[in-house]
C-alpha cells in the first residue's frame, strides 16, 4: 500500500512539474506527422501549421509555403526554424500498363519500400498502391554476386495500383506531378515512445508549434523573435534560402533531427546520444560548427531551468546554416533520433518536451 501511495505521489509530482507539464507537442506531432508534405509540395502541412497558430501572432505564408511570424522588437534577433517538408517521391509518368513511375530520389533507402504500400496524393484524394518487388525476388537462391542497385533505386520505381491500363490509372485521379509517400504506421513501443515516417522534421515543427502556443508575448522583451516553418530542406535548404533574403537574424536555432547512433547496427564512435536522454545541441554536423561559447550558454540556461540537454556531433545538414553567410550564428537544436530517414524514425516524448521547454527558455534568457 505504501509503495502504491508513493508511486501515485510520484506520478502527481511528475505531472505538475514545469518541464513539459503544459506541452502538447507530442499530440501535435502525432497529428501532423500524418499530413503529407513532400519537398516542394508542402501546401497541406503548411496549411495545418498556419491554421494552428493564434491569429494574434499574424503568421505569414509565402508562395513557397514557408510560414513564419515575428514578435518583439530590438536586438538580438533570434530565429527558430524547423522544416515542414518530408521525404517522398513525385510521379513522373504512367505506363501503358497502368503502372505509376516515380522520379529518382526520395532520400529513403528505396529497398525499404519494396513490396510495401504507398499513397499517391492526387487532386482527388489519396490513392493507395504497392511498390512491386523486383522481378526475380522469389528466386530460391540469391544472385551469385552482389547485385547493383535494385530496380527501386537510381531510376525510380513503379507503383502497382490494381489497374491494367493508363486510362484506368488516370481515372483514379493519378497524374504526373502528384507526390508519393510511404503509407505511415505509428509504432507505439510504449506511451511516449514511438516510431514512424517523417518524424524528421515534423517533430521540429511540433516543438515550434507547441512553443508558439505556450509563448507569452510579454516574455519577449528587448529582442526580436521569429518562428519559421520552412520548406524544401530535404532537397537543398531552398525554403530557408528564400527566408534568408528578408530575415537577418543574429542567432538561428534550427530545430531538426540529431542523427543518433542509438541503435544496434551502428558504431558508437560518435553520435551516440540515447533516445530519452533529453534535448540535443548539435555541436557539429555536415553544415555547421557551433561555437563552444554558444553551446555553453545553451547548457547554462538549460541547467538553470532543469531541462535535460545532451551535446553531440553527427552528420546531416540544417536550415540554420543558410543564415551563416548573412552574419548569423547557427546553434542547431534537436532530439536524439534513431533510424533517421527511414520508415521507423524513433522519438521519445520526454526529448520532444525538453526541446520545447528549451526553446521557451531561450526566448527569455538568451543574450
Amino acid at each position: 500500500m505504501t509503495k502504491r501511495l508513493a508511486a501515485a505521489i510520484l506520478v502527481l509530482i511528475v505531472s505538475i512539474s514545469p518541464a513539459g507539464a503544459q506541452s502538447k507537442a507530442w499530440d501535435i506531432l502525432r497529428e501532423i506527422v500524418l499530413v503529407p508534405g513532400v519537398s516542394g509540395h508542402e501546401g497541406p502541412v503548411s496549411h495545418v501549421i498556419q491554421d494552428r497558430l493564434p491569429a494574434a501572432l499574424k503568421a505569414e505564408r509565402d508562395a513557397m509555403n514557408n510560414v513564419w511570424f515575428t514578435i518583439g522588437l530590438g536586438r538580438p534577433h533570434i530565429l527558430f526554424v524547423a522544416h515542414s517538408d518530408e521525404l517522398g517521391w513525385v510521379v513522373d509518368k504512367i505506363t501503358p500498363e497502368g503502372r505509376v513511375r516515380v522520379k529518382p530520389g526520395g532520400g529513403i533507402l528505396p529497398q525499404t519500400v519494396e513490396a510495401r504500400p504507398v499513397l499517391i496524393h492526387t487532386g482527388r484524394g489519396d490513392v493507395p498502391g504497392i511498390v512491386p518487388p523486383r522481378p526475380d525476388y522469389d528466386e530460391r537462391q540469391p544472385p551469385s554476386s552482389v547485385a547493383p542497385e535494385t530496380p527501386a533505386a537510381a531510376e525510380g520505381f513503379d507503383i502497382f495500383l490494381g489497374v491494367a491500363t493508363e486510362a484506368e490509372a488516370r481515372a483514379l485521379g493519378v497524374a504526373e506531378g502528384d507526390t508519393v509517400t510511404a503509407k505511415k504506421t505509428l509504432v507505439d513501443f510504449a506511451p511516449g515512445l514511438m516510431a514512424t515516417r517523417a518524424v524528421d522534421d515534423r517533430a521540429g515543427c511540433a516543438a515550434l508549434l507547441d512553443a508558439a502556443l505556450r509563448l507569452k508575448p510579454g516574455t519577449v522583451k528587448g529582442r526580436t523573435v521569429t518562428f519559421a516553418w520552412d520548406v524544401q530542406e530535404e532537397t537543398g535548404l531552398f525554403g530557408a534560402a528564400e527566408l534568408a533574403k528578408t530575415l537577418k537574424p543574429d542567432y538561428v536555432f534550427a530545430i531538426d533531427t540529431f542523427v543518433s547512433t542509438d541503435s544496434p547496427l551502428e558504431s558508437k564512435r560518435f553520435a551516440f546520444l540515447p533516445v530519452g536522454g533529453g534535448a540535443v545541441v548539435r555541436a557539429i554536423d555536415s553544415s555547421n560548427v557551433t561555437p563552444k561559447t554558444e553551446i555553453l550558454k545553451v547548457l547554462a540556461i538549460a541547467k538553470k531551468r532543469g531541462i535535460p540537454v545532451q551535446v553531440g556531433n553527427s552528420r546531416g545538414g540544417n536550415d540554420g546554416s543558410v543564415f551563416l553567410a548573412g552574419g548569423a550564428v547557427d546553434i542547431p537544436l534537436s532530439w536524439p533520433g534513431s533510424y533517421a530517414h527511414s520508415l521507423i524514425e524513433k522519438i521519445d516524448r520526454r526529448d520532444l518536451e525538453a526541446l520545447t521547454d528549451l526553446i521557451l527558455a531561450l526566448i527569455v534568457d538568451w543574450k
Binding site: L109, R116, P128, P142, V187, A195, Y339
Partner: protein
C-alpha cells in the same frame, strides 16, 4: 510450457467471445479482414485456429489432429471428401534477447525465397506474446551515416544475422517484462491496403483469404444434415517438410492424411500469379493444378461446380506441392484449387476479390449434394 498454455487459453477465451458475438454467415470480405491481423506462422498457429473456431457456427463439429490442425465435419455434402488449406504461413520468431533488449530472429522453416528476410529491414513488426501483442521495428542504420558502399550492400547482404528488433526497451529484463519469450512469432502488422479493381494487399493475405474462403463455405453448409460428410480442414505446420531424399511432403498435410484417410482431397492453396510467361493471371479465376494434364472424376466435379457457380477457372500442370504430395498415391485422388496471388510471399500479397469469391463459390457448389456428379 506454462507460457504456451497461458497463451492458448487466452486465445481460446477470445474465440469464445467471438462465438457469442454471432455465428451467422459473414461475407468473404469481412471474414478475410477478421483473419488478416491474426498471426499464424509454422508452430504458432494456435491464434488463427482459435479465431477460426470462434467464427464457426454454433454446434459445428470441430475435430482436431496433431500439431494444431483443426477441421469441421460437414454433413449432407456431396460425398466423403477432404478440403484442406494451410493454417500456417511463412514468418519469423524470437530466437534471443540481447543484453541491450533487442530481439534476434530466426525462422521455424526455410524461407520461400532468397529475399524473404531482406524485406524485414526497417519495418514495423508485431511480436505476439503471452501478454499480448508488442510493437517493434527491425533496426536500420540512419541514411546519413551510411557510406555509399554500405548503402549498396546493406539490403543485398541483409540477413537474420543483422536483424535486430527494437521494442523500445534497454535491457533483456525489460523485454521479458513486456512478455517477450523465445519462439514468440514475429510478423508484419496486418494492415490491409484496398487497391483499385477490387484487389486487396497485405502481409500473408493469400493464406488468410483462402482460410476465410473455407470458413465461409463451412458457415454456409454447417447446418445441413444427413447424407455423407466432408471434412474441411485447416492444417498446421504445412510449411515444414519431411526430411530425407526424394519428394518431401508437408508434415502437416501428412498428419491430416493419417488422421482422416481421405479417398479424395481438394487442396486449396495459393499460387504465384501475374508474373507472365504462362503463369496464372489475377482476376481470371482460381487455378486448377494437376501434376498431369489428364481427366479425372475430381477435376470434372470441380469444373462442373465452377460452371454452376458461373466462375472461371485457370488450369496449370505442375508437380505436386508438399501440401498435395501425401494424397497423391493411388487409389486416392487429389487436386489443387489455388488462389492466384500477386507478389506472393512478400509483405504485400495482392489478391483479387473476384478470384476469392469464385474460389469460395466453387467450393460451396462442389460440396453441395450432387455437386460432384
Amino acid at each position: 510450457m506454462a507460457v504456451r498454455l497461458a497463451r492458448t487459453m487466452g486465445w481460446i477465451a477470445a474465440a469464445v467471445s467471438v462465438v457469442v458475438a454471432g455465428a451467422g454467415a459473414a461475407d468473404i470480405k469481412t471474414l478475410t479482414k477478421e483473419l488478416l491481423p491474426v498471426p499464424s506462422t509454422t508452430g504458432n498457429e494456435e491464434m488463427l485456429a482459435a479465431k477460426i473456431r470462434g467464427l464457426l457456427p454454433k454446434g459445428a463439429e470441430v475435430e482436431e489432429a496433431g500439431l494444431g490442425t483443426i477441421a469441421v465435419r460437414l454433413k449432407g455434402s456431396a460425398g466423403p471428401t477432404l478440403i484442406l488449406a494451410a493454417l500456417d504461413g511463412y514468418g519469423h520468431m524470437v530466437s534471443g534477447i540481447t543484453p541491450e533488449g533487442y530481439l534476434t530472429l530466426d525462422r521455424p522453416v526455410a524461407p520461400p525465397h532468397a529475399r524473404f528476410d531482406a524485406f524485414l529491414l526497417g519495418q514495423p513488426v508485431i511480436i505476439s506474446t503471452a501478454k499480448g501483442p508488442v510493437q517493434g521495428v527491425v533496426s536500420q542504420p540512419a541514411m546519413h551515416l551510411l557510406t555509399q558502399e554500405r548503402r549498396r550492400t546493406l539490403v543485398e547482404g541483409f540477413s537474420l544475422e543483422s536483424a535486430f528488433v527494437d521494442i523500445g526497451v534497454r535491457s533483456a529484463n525489460e523485454a521479458r517484462a513486456k512478455g517477450i519469450d523465445l519462439l514468440d512469432p514475429v510478423t508484419y502488422p496486418g494492415v490491409l491496403t484496398e487497391l483499385a479493381g477490387d484487389q486487396w494487399a497485405g502481409p500473408g493475405l493469400g493464406l488468410k483469404a483462402v482460410a476465410a474462403g473455407l470458413l465461409s463455405v463451412a458457415q454456409a453448409l454447417a447446418s445441413r444434415g444427413g447424407g455423407e460428410s466432408a471434412v474441411v480442414a485447416w492444417a498446421a505446420q504445412t510449411k515444414f517438410s519431411a526430411r530425407g531424399r526424394g519428394a518431401r511432403p508437408s508434415i502437416g498435410a501428412a498428419q491430416v492424411k493419417a488422421h482422416w484417410q481421405p479417398g479424395r482431397t481438394v487442396v486449396v492453396d495459393i499460387i504465384a500469379a501475374g508474373k507472365g510467361d504462362g503463369a496464372p493471371v489475377p482476376g481470371r479465376g482460381p487455378v486448377l493444378v494437376q501434376s498431369r494434364d489428364e481427366p479425372s472424376a475430381l477435376r470434372q466435379a470441380l469444373e462442373s461446380a465452377a460452371a454452376a457457380a458461373g466462375a472461371s477457372l485457370q488450369r496449370l500442370t505442375a508437380p505436386d506441392s508438399p501440401l498435395s504430395l501425401p494424397f497423391a498415391s493411388p487409389p486416392s485422388e487429389v487436386i489443387t484449387l489455388a488462389l492466384p496471388v500477386r507478389f506472393l510471399n512478400t509483405p504485400s500479397e495482392v489478391v483479387s476479390l473476384k478470384d476469392l469469391q469464385a474460389l469460395r463459390d466453387i467450393l460451396e457448389r462442389f460440396l453441395e449434394p450432387g455437386g460432384t456428379k
